[in-house]
């Protein structure tokens, strides 16, 4: 049987009548037509994964773990698809540098798309179908938000495209061996048959290029509309990661400020993770007294574990439940519920780090170990536990964690920096981060249960002793956060003869509205700022509506925006006090509370 020659194709200018009559194609059309859609797709995916979603994927890596060691990876053995997820975790390690990791993601996604088109023998308009898997993959990745990595299988993100590419790479040669269709090059521009009219060529070019861009654009759109906080939080976390390697003291502090700026620039969002990382930066900069309430603290529900408000997750963190969120349920009870599978907590996202930055090193170990128990080891947990071990002078366990981390690809910077501190207390005490953490460490030994825990500060408001003035600031900030004004006033008296930071001064002014006597204890302080008086007058109308219904929640957001400029430089505590974190207002924890509940 004679060989059938494929239809001749040509990239040269066709000699079609219709085209002859049409105007000469513009340079743009020529450029578009000669642009391989696969190249467009590769670049778009790379840009998305490297820059737009880079911070998220960088943090996903921190929440993941892979090391070439059977013992430490035993937790993955026997899991359904375990081998694939281990491969995915290994590939995710490249996101140590998102631009590098993104190259692999883009390659896998593009290859899968390309080979799918070949295997399905798609032609013409049908070619758009080959982009569907990539579209689904990226859309779901963006939709997952925190669920991509937080208390989730982190191997999925790279494991799925790796598997798809592998499957395609196996099928494609099989098809090739039964088919005469040549294997197309990845970067091959579109080839057109001579009889295809120019208009159709142009239309198809546009559609295919759009299809190539669609997965990335869809992912961006989903993130920007449905999961806005994910990038904000992870960008803050990336700053935190970067400062671990910062040698320069100024740059080090700048990184914390960058974290604060990210939160301040996104005050339209208000979730606990944002508040938590903002608080960490504020504490580490020693600005608890002046900047703690610069962001909106009303807490929209973050999307985690596929749930939103009203879900089981809300047991821990819902801002919309009828129950006040302060001390309604002991943390122990919440954990027991989680252990028995009732739900999980968005608090777990940041609690270990918050404990640590609030100086509660042993509590950070507690929560870090729990995270490791429930989700297996992660770089983030192991790094935190390493730092805690160093602070506690537990050299051998610090060595253990560093040895494990040393087996993880691309972790030599961290391991190098902290290995040098093992059994070297003078180096630990000289480290700026450790120095700040030490300032707020508890000075007496007591049980966690006796601590009131707004977890992002984690300081016991009942304590009367502290290692430094920073410890007192933490304590005062907790009291202000819980709006426990008598407790605050009682403690702030110890600062009688010192200039008060802005937030504390505002809090005293608020308290002074009904208790003018207290201001006499601070002779320098008067409610003289006209902005305060105007503000108090202004907000009266927004507390309740005509029917007497409490409207503070509805008005909180726009009021924050309204006063954002006016109160700039003066502070936002009054807004927080009247309109923020309303559940804290419903039921204030007493200072002698021995339960382990918290306002978070």
């Amino acid at each position: 049987m004679a060989k059938q020659h494929p239809k001749p194709i040509s990239t040269s200018k066709p000699k079609d009548k219709k085209e002859d009559s049409s105007p000469k194609p513009s340079r743009l059309w020529s450029l578009l037509r000669s642009t391989p859609p696969m190249l467009v797709m590769f670049v778009a995916v790379w840009l998305w994964a490297a820059f737009f979603y880079g911070p998220v994927l960088r943090i996903a890596r921190e929440f993941s773990f892979w090391a070439p060691d059977d013992t430490v990876m035993y937790f993955m053995e026997g899991r359904p698809w375990g081998g694939l997820w281990v491969l995915g975790r290994m590939l995710l390690m490249l996101y140590r540098w998102p631009v590098v990791g993104a190259l692999l993601t883009a390659t896998l996604v593009t290859l899968t798309t390309h080979l799918l088109g070949y295997c399905l023998r798609l032609k013409g308009w049908w070619r758009v179908l080959q982009y569907i898997p990539a579209l689904l993959y990226m859309a779901l990745t963006a939709y997952a938000g925190f669920d991509l990595f937080f208390e989730a299988e982190t191997g999925l993100f790279m494991g799925v495209p790796a598997l798809c590419t592998l499957v395609m790479a196996v099928i494609a040669p099989i098809i090739r061996s039964f088919s005469r269709k040549p294997f197309p090059w990845l970067w091959q521009p579109e080839k057109w048959a001579d009889d295809v009219p120019v208009r159709r060529r142009n239309a198809q070019t546009v559609v295919l290029l759009a299809a190539a861009l669609l997965p990335s654009l869809t992912a961006i759109t989903i993130t920007q509309t449905m999961r806005r906080d994910v990038r904000v939080v992870t960008r803050m976390q990336c700053e935190q990661l970067a400062l671990e390697q910062e040698q320069d003291a100024m740059q080090y502090m700048q990184r914390w400020e960058n974290m604060q700026d990210i939160a301040r620039n996104n005050t339209s969002l208000s979730t606990r993770p944002i508040a938590a990382y903002y608080a960490m930066a504020t504490v580490m900069r020693g600005e608890q007294g002046s900047r703690m309430f610069d962001i909106r603290l009303e807490y929209d529900e973050p999307w985690m574990h596929g749930f939103t408000k009203g879900s089981l997750t809300s047991i821990f963190s819902s801002s919309d439940s009828e129950e006040p969120n302060d001390s309604t349920e002991s943390k122990g009870e919440a954990i027991r519920k989680m252990a028995s599978g009732i739900g999980s907590s968005s608090n777990n996202y940041y609690t270990p780090e918050c404990d640590y930055h609030a100086g509660l090193v042993q509590t950070a170990i507690h929560h870090g170990m729990e995270a490791m128990t429930m989700n297996g080891p992660s770089l983030r947990t192991l790094k935190l536990l390493t730092k805690c071990a160093l602070l506690k002078g537990e050299w051998e366990v610090a060595r253990k964690y560093l040895r494990i981390l040393g087996k993880v690809p691309f972790e030599s910077d961290f391991v190098g920096k902290y290995s040098a501190m093992v059994a070297r207390p003078e180096k630990i005490n000289a480290d700026p981060e450790f120095k700040m953490v030490r300032l707020t460490e508890p000075v007496s030994n007591m049980f966690e249960n006796t601590f009131i825990q707004p977890v992002f500060l984690g300081y016991n408001a009942a304590l009367t002793e502290g290692a430094s003035i920073n410890a007192l600031w933490n304590s005062l900030s907790v009291l202000l956060y819980t709006k426990s004004m008598p407790g605050f006033v009682e403690r702030v008296m110890s600062l009688e003869n010192t200039p008060l930071p802005a937030t504390y001064a505002q809090a005293l002014c608020i308290y002074g509205v009904k208790n003018p006597d207290v201001l006499q204890r601070f002779p320098g302080m008067k409610i003289e700022d006209s902005r305060f008086a105007t503000f108090i007058q202004d907000i009266k109308d927004h507390v309740k509506d005509k029917n007497g219904k409490d409207t503070r929640r509805e008005n909180a957001g726009w009021l924050f925006d309204k006063y954002k400029k006016e109160l700039n430089g003066w502070g936002y505590y009054p807004l927080y006090y009247y309109f923020g974190n309303l559940k804290a207002t419903k039921k204030k924890p007493s200072t002698n509370n021995t339960s382990d509940g918290g306002v978070n």
């Binding site: 013992t71 026997g78 122990g332 599978g341 253990k400 049980f447 249960n449």
Partner: protein, 508 residues
């Protein structure tokens, strides 16, 4: 044609054999020689885990180790037996020494009851150096072949994947006895704990399942049964068990347990009993009876003596019983006075015929010394009582002050097992069936993760320096992020399969 083919085939075979030989040689263990020249350092080799100058059973797996020497690029060890035999082993990567099991067994067998001299050589930039020779004494008495333990993340409130495993001490074989669900499943998550055997035999064993599918799994003669040890006047369920050596009885404690977390200081967790009593469970009749349940006393950790005519246990007085706290605040009271809880060891005679207990008597008075005992265990010859002692409380696995102590029940002398102890925690101890080995959990390697240690207990009642459970890869002790919990020695392997146990556990 046929001949040519044959010749061709032969040539191919030859090539294949040659290739296989090369590959096998390349993959086989590298041979190490004692350095021809080395400079003595006059210092001790720092090896991990440390097994220098210990006494080992003649049937133990090789004591592989890592050399801790930041200047070294290679390590060689030479082991020479007093009665002959030699092993030379070495390593380069991570300075790990992994010895050949056959050679090791031969060396130990040849030198049973004598000493092995070990010299470690390290390759430095300037050449080989040798460290001071250390000794490994090979005991006459073997250790039971099997060790079972639970692997679980250290402490805290939560658990996820965990299992009870069984290790063959003569080699590297480790098999799961039972592992809980690998992946998180709301309806199937469960914890397992307190595995226990009768008379070092796996013929009769038990362990508890908590949370979903909860109950006590009793395995007798290969038959698995799940029972609920509960009753109206029983606090919770059966907790710490002890099989009667001859009768189908198990003594249990029943404990209302809670835990709290320290904010500071050297200890991290405090596990406290708000209340606890003792029970006796008849395995055949499936009946449970209360043995001790005094209001102001907390009785726990029952342990039969080898003849089964005494039940030992720990007991503490509720602190300040004159202070009456409301019942719902009892846990708070215990938490407040947790460091005032001192557990003594007492015993009650048990009449095997009538199955009745006699009056209790003090065995070790701890409270008067402001000390506290837990986990009493009687040696198989009935001569020694072994326990963990710390400053207060009963869950000593989280008390850094916890050490192993013994009482010679014949002479009444009480002493600490100083050579086996460490500045870190020692607890969860058990005897070998011949009474010559003590196995226990210790946090001495890193202060946080418990590892199993084995110490020789000689005829004079003296414990020797303990060595860590050998691992094929000595780095396993570092890489493993779980603790070894409740090590128990048995003469034989558990025959029930994980699948059988799973079936019985999931059958609610």
């Amino acid at each position: 044609m046929r001949t040519t083919n044959k010749i061709h085939f032969t040539k191919t075979s030859l090539w294949a054999w040659a290739l296989a030989t090369v590959l096998l040689t390349a993959c086989g263990p590298k041979k190490y020689d004692v350095p021809a020249q080395s400079t003595p350092t006059d210092s001790e080799a720092v090896i991990y885990p440390d097994h220098t100058n210990t006494v080992v059973p003649p049937n133990i797996a090789p004591l592989n180790f890592m050399l801790k020497d930041s200047l070294a690029t290679a390590v060689v060890v030479r082991l020479r037996g007093e009665k002959g035999g030699e092993i030379v082993a070495g390593g380069e990567k991570d300075l790990k020494v992994e010895m050949d099991t056959t050679q090791w067994r031969t060396l130990l067998a040849d030198n049973r009851g004598t000493t092995i001299q070990a010299t470690v050589y390290a390759k430095h930039k300037e050449g080989w150096v040798s460290y001071n020779t250390y000794t490994i004494d090979v005991a006459e008495e073997e250790i039971d072949n099997y060790l079972s333990y639970r692997l679980i993340e250290p402490g805290y409130e939560l658990y996820r994947q965990l299992g009870i495993y069984q290790r063959n001490l003569t080699n590297w074989e480790e098999k799961p006895i039972y592992e809980n669900n690998r992946t998180y499943e709301d309806e199937n998550n469960h914890c397992i704990n307190c595995h226990n055997y009768r008379n070092h035999s796996t013929q009769d064993m038990l362990f508890h399942v908590r949370s979903n599918h909860g109950g006590t799994m009793i395995i007798r003669d290969g038959k698995v049964k799940k029972v609920q040890i509960k009753g109206d006047s029983i606090l919770t369920a059966g907790v710490y068990p002890s099989w009667h050596p001859t009768l189908p009885l198990v003594a249990f404690s029943t404990n209302k347990t809670g835990q709290a977390f320290y904010m500071n200081g050297r200890d991290k967790i405090e596990v406290m009993d708000e209340a606890s009593d003792l029970l006796l469970y008849d395995v055949e009749q499936e009946k449970v009876q209360l043995v001790l349940n005094a209001d102001t006393l907390l009785e726990t950790f029952p342990a039969w003596n080898p003849t089964g005519d005494y039940l030992y246990y720990c007991v503490a007085r509720e602190p300040f019983p004159e202070q009456k706290w409301p019942k719902d605040k009892q846990a708070e009271k215990i938490m407040t006075y947790h460091n005032q809880m001192f557990y003594d060891i007492r015993r009650m005679p048990f009449d095997i015929k009538t199955r009745t207990f006699g009056p209790s008597e003090m065995v070790v008075d701890m409270a008067s010394q402001k000390q506290s005992a837990s986990f009493p265990r009687i040696s198989p010859d009935g001569r020694y009582l072994l326990w963990a002692q710390a400053e207060f409380g009963q869950f000593h696995i989280w008390h850094k002050s916890s050490d192993l102590w013994v009482k010679n029940l014949e002479t009444d002398s009480i002493y600490s097992l100083t050579e086996a102890n460490s500045p870190e925690v020692e607890s969860y101890h058990t005897w070998s069936s011949n009474g010559r080995w003590i196995v226990f959990s210790s946090r001495r390697l890193d202060g946080n993760y418990t590892r199993v240690f084995i110490a020789y207990f000689d005829k004079n009642g003296r414990a020797h320096k303990a060595f860590c459970l050998p691992q094929r890869d000595p780095e396993q002790n570092i890489m493993l992020l779980k603790s070894y919990n409740v090590p128990e020695l048995t003469k034989d392997a558990v025959h029930t399969t994980p699948a059988q146990l799973k079936e019985a556990i999931y059958k609610d």
